[in-house]
């Protein structure tokens, strides 16, 4: 993918592996009379390249375990990548120390999936919001901090008079608003949202989603939005990246992806969306299961389940290639005009 200087966040050929063979002693094994060290890894992300443009909402979709959350956590520096780079406005940030990272913490924030775990149960809402503001703006006076907290609480629809309450006194939707308030408290320009609404009631989901869109307009935010809900993507996303087994298989503007999905996996995914007028028995049925990320398949990770796979797909890993309509697809079939 060609480097574009105007991107806000750039993820370049990112790899992340997790060891699953325990500590050093567990890794030692007897093989043929010799003591050998044997390690196994989960390949959570395999060469993901994405760039997030200022002002957009880039949605990342995919099924459970495809590495969506790992991408989000790596971008935020909660995980260090095994290989590859993460850059913010052209500056590499994945190898910085905690201290060097500090200025970026103000600009990049995260909203978490589980509003029941993402607020400290021993802190009041006021304390939860006050701490980051005071930490990042040591020059502010107590009353300025108070004003800032009130402003942020109002903007997410939380009454400032609730400040002295603890998080367990709130409902899931209210808690998620408070987590959004916490993220907004340091005036970030980029927010990673890791399935922020999947733990909420459907009726509350829309509220929180609208809140996030309002905040985007008012504060000129950029989102990297992780989700597995395609309806949300259609509503929210500027562009969509579809992930499968740790790789991006298709990246396209939302409308384009929904009207003409190109990758066989995306096509299957789209045809699986339940619709009200649903009496189409001809949706694409994928056979088999997602391969384990411990032993990755050779070639295209999707070849085992792809109805169009040929020999080349089993051998060669497809690259994301730009099509004439602006879609990027990692598929030999599309590249060869077979599909």
């Amino acid at each position: 993918m060609e480097a574009q200087s105007n991107s806000l966040v750039q993820i370049n050929d990112l790899y992340k592996r997790f060891s699953i063979s325990g500590d050093f002693l567990d890794q030692l094994q007897f093989k043929g009379g010799k003591l050998v060290r044997h390690q196994e890894h989960v390949h959570a992300i395999n060469g993901v390249s994405l760039e997030v443009m200022p002002g957009e909402a880039l949605c990342v979709v995919g099924e459970s375990g495809c590495g969506k959350s790992t991408v989000a956590r790596t971008v935020m520096g909660l995980l260090t990548p095994t290989a590859g780079q993460v850059s913010y406005r052209g500056e590499r940030i994945d190898n910085l120390s905690d201290k060097q990272m500090l200025p970026y913490r103000k600009k990049m924030q995260m909203i978490f999936q589980n509003p029941y775990a993402s607020l400290n149960p021993r802190m009041t809402i006021m304390e939860t919001l006050r701490e980051p503001i005071r930490f990042h703006n040591p020059a502010l006076t107590a009353s300025e901090i108070r004003d800032k907290i009130h402003e942020v609480m109002f903007s997410v629809g939380v009454d400032p008079s609730w400040g002295e309450r603890y998080s367990h006194e709130f409902s899931g939707g209210q808690r998620q608003r408070i987590s959004i308030a916490r993220a907004l408290a340091v005036d970030p320009e980029f927010i990673v949202a890791d399935e922020p609404i999947s733990a909420l009631d459907v009726s509350i989901q829309a509220q929180v989603l609208n809140l996030m869109m309002e905040a985007q307009e008012q504060r000129n935010l950029t989102y990297l939005f992780i989700t597995h809900d395609l309806a949300v993507v259609e509503h929210f996303g500027t562009r969509v990246a579809v992930m499968y087994l740790g790789t991006v298989c298709e990246l396209a503007p939302t409308k384009q992806l929904f009207s003409s999905p190109r990758h066989p996996y995306t096509q299957a995914l789209m045809s699986a969306i339940p619709r009200l007028e649903d009496n189409r028995p001809d949706y694409i049925k994928l056979t088999g299961e997602v391969p384990t990320p411990v032993n990755l398949p050779s070639g295209c990770v999707f070849h085992g389940r792809c109805p169009h796979a040929n020999e080349r797909c089993k051998q060669e890993i497809p690259m994301l290639t730009l099509l004439s309509d602006g879609t990027r697809v990692a598929c030999h079939g599309v590249e060869e005009n077979r599909l």
């Binding site: 607020l119 980051p132 629809g157």
Partner: protein, 316 residues
């Protein structure tokens, strides 16, 4: 968005919040806990005001008359109205000595547990939060420490100290030495418990949120994780105070604890042991009962607290 702002009932102060809490409610309905807490308060009161309540000062040699030795309690034949619980072999009033002994025992128990908690919390938090090699190293040290029994370590350290620096210096420093030895020997109990809770807590998203905010390790460890591990700390503290008091009593009984001139409950029991067969049972039995009741009360409170704070029985 404004329509979603709801009004809630008026604010509660911390004290009102406490009165409405599960903790207070379960205390109100549990007679055993109430009784234990009452007795503990009485102990604490007697210990703090021992020098005002006690009719004699057992540390003042001029008030002790050897002619008064081994007087039985006042309700026994040959008892003296002046000495309610009788006197010991040196003619000290048992009541006064027990009051001061309770103070010594409680002081040692509380201070030793404070030291244990300090060491254990710092080491357990570090091991649990940083993890990896630091964790392995600290926990193996804890395992090694636990494989020596507290009493064995204490006996060796105290005996060596006594032999090297002489009995006189030892008698001056006895209390500090006991606190140090019992405190240092038992920190792994705390460290292990806290490490376990930290491992559970640090996976929660509020810790990730704090990291994303850029907070330093120390701030996350002490301000975010530690307050969430307080329940197990509270529970083991009560049990550990009882254990520390017993350890101190055992050491004193073995002659390695508090000197005779400044007796704790343990050294009182020990000093009366030689006279038990000559009929002077009260010198051993009365401090013994006082000690048993104190330890029992602490253990009952600990049990109750473990039930109340157990998240599996109640989620608060």
């Amino acid at each position: 968005m404004t329509d979603s702002i709801q009004t809630m009932e008026p604010q509660l102060s911390t004290w009102q919040r406490f009165l409405k809490s599960h903790f207070w409610h379960s205390f109100k309905i549990d007679r055993v806990a109430q009784l234990s807490f009452m007795i503990f308060l009485i102990y604490a009161f007697l210990a703090v005001f021992a020098s005002f309540i006690a009719p004699f000062d057992p540390y003042d040699a001029s008030q002790i008359d050897i002619m008064n030795s081994e007087i039985p309690p006042s309700w026994e034949e040959g008892g003296d109205e002046l000495f309610l619980l009788g006197t010991d072999a040196q003619g000290r009033d048992m009541l006064s000595t027990i009051l001061h002994g309770t103070r010594v025992s409680l002081t040692i128990g509380l201070c030793a547990v404070a030291l244990q908690a300090l060491l254990g919390i710092v080491i357990g938090l570090t091991a649990g939060y940083i993890g990896g090699r630091v964790d392995s190293f600290l926990m193996r040290v804890a395992d090694i420490q636990l494989s020596f029994s507290t009493l064995m370590v204490a006996i060796i350290v105290l005996a060596v100290f006594q032999a090297t620096f002489g009995t006189e210096l030892y008698q001056q420093l006895a209390m500090i030495m006991l606190i140090l030895v019992i405190g240092i020997a038992e920190w792994p109990q705390y460290a292990r418990t806290i490490r376990a809770s930290v491992l559970a807590e640090k996976k929660k998203e509020y810790v990730d949120a704090a990291r994303v905010m850029g907070f330093g390790r120390l701030r996350i460890m002490f301000r975010h994780i530690l307050p969430n591990t307080l329940s197990p700390i509270l529970v083991i503290s009560t049990v550990q105070i009882a254990n520390a008091i017993i350890s101190e009593a055992s050491l004193s009984f073995l002659g390695l604890g508090m000197p005779v001139s400044q007796p704790s409950l343990g050294s009182l029991i020990s000093s009366g042991f030689e006279y038990i067969f000559s009929g002077a049972w009260w010198i051993t039995v009365i401090p013994g009962v006082v000690l048993i009741v104190l330890v029992l009360v602490m253990n009952l409170l600990g049990d109750w607290m473990r039930d109340v704070l157990n998240p599996k029985l109640y989620k608060g």
